[in-house]
Amino acid sequence: MSYIQEPFSEGNSLAHRLDPRGKIVVAALFAVLVAASKSYAATAAGLALALFCLALARLPWRKVAARLLMVNSFIFFLWVVLPLTYPGEAVWRLGPLTATRQGLLFTGLITLKSNAIIIGLIALIATVPVVTLGQSMHHLRLPEKLCHLLLFTYRYLYVFEQEFHRLVQAMKIRGFRPRTNLHTYRSYAYLAAMLLVRSYDRADRVYQAMLCRGFHGRFYSLRTFAWQRRDWIFLGLSLPALAVVLYLEWHRPTLW
């Protein structure tokens, strides 16, 4: 069984049953809005919205927490660096290091934003299987190349993964154990190179097979989507909610 899984795409909650096209549009607007906002009020409202959607999706919370932890481990480094390097009014000193008020506020804002966007995307986008995502992007008339890039990348992740495991197994059964030495580095370099060469060859063969089936640079999608009343309701509720976020950003009620 493959290690690449889409744990959030399976489910039968309201968030899963909504038309993926509506979810993509709302998620895209949401992400842009929150990413561009500079106020705590708008970002906090965004986070609240994202959490609400997450609640609707009824996902296994342990897995969601694990994913958030992964994202926040990157943000942890920002907390180490940003407050100390951002110019502004000093609030805390330790030897030559000075943390600034502006730096702390800025890092806090970034943390809030990232989490709001990730949670929003988990609730709206991760609940769509990648394949359906590609097809709905196609239906939204997004550039064809973009959709195919997404679908092919996803498709070939599995191929890479299989090739990778095959090669790793071949190494293991001949007694390879990673150590800190030149032999290990060289073997890993061979592994990477072999993976590249093999994948390239495979891509070539797949292209040949496509040519044999009359491929001439265009893909056709068979999938049809049914836009239902609940999708109108979702859109009708999300857009005003996003407008509230926009309003908060515009008027910027000062919290601090």
Partner: protein, 221 residues
Amino acid sequence: MSEPLIELRNITFTYPGAPQPVFRDFNFQLPPGEHLGLMGPNGCGKTTLLHLIMGLLRPQAGSIYIFGQEVKREKDFIEVRRKVGLLFQHADDQLFCPTVLEDVAFGPLNQGKTPAEAMAIARKTMARLGLTGFDDRVTYKLSGGEKKLVSLATVLAMEPQLLLLDEPTAGLDEKTKDRLIHILQHLEIAYMIVSHEHVFLNHTVKECCHVHGHCCQPVET
């Protein structure tokens, strides 16, 4: 005598960088309605022959006639690929769409069928191969045997007049092999099978030949 489906005249082909040519002055004919088995050791040019016919490889010299027409340029081969189906040795190379139905419908769509027609053809072909209900199965999560049968469906959905099969039994269990034999025995078109398995060929083809550098020599079966 009626025109051969495929005719290769004085073909010379060398892989780039290879010291020896695979074919030198190679001649070959496939009569209409023929079910032919191609045999020979690894590297003797069986797959190369199939790829030359499909225009995936181009010979350095000689000429290829398919359905009586000389084929030279990519444009000619596009026409060939509408009429001749090639089943690749590895099903993983053949299947690339996310779901089975889409993969089977890919060929018919390329032939200019509407999505509804393509889906109908795909479903019909899948039913013929005992793959009913596979529509939304994910291609890369199928078993080896299922992948092979789906690949065959993707080729047959294009309603070819000639089918080329490259080691179709490699890695299949007996049950799937039997299914494949049954399917081939009921095909109404000419086909050519590259295989190392005598038993399989005995059930599916009337004649076998050995591929050599100059020609194909008939083998007694």
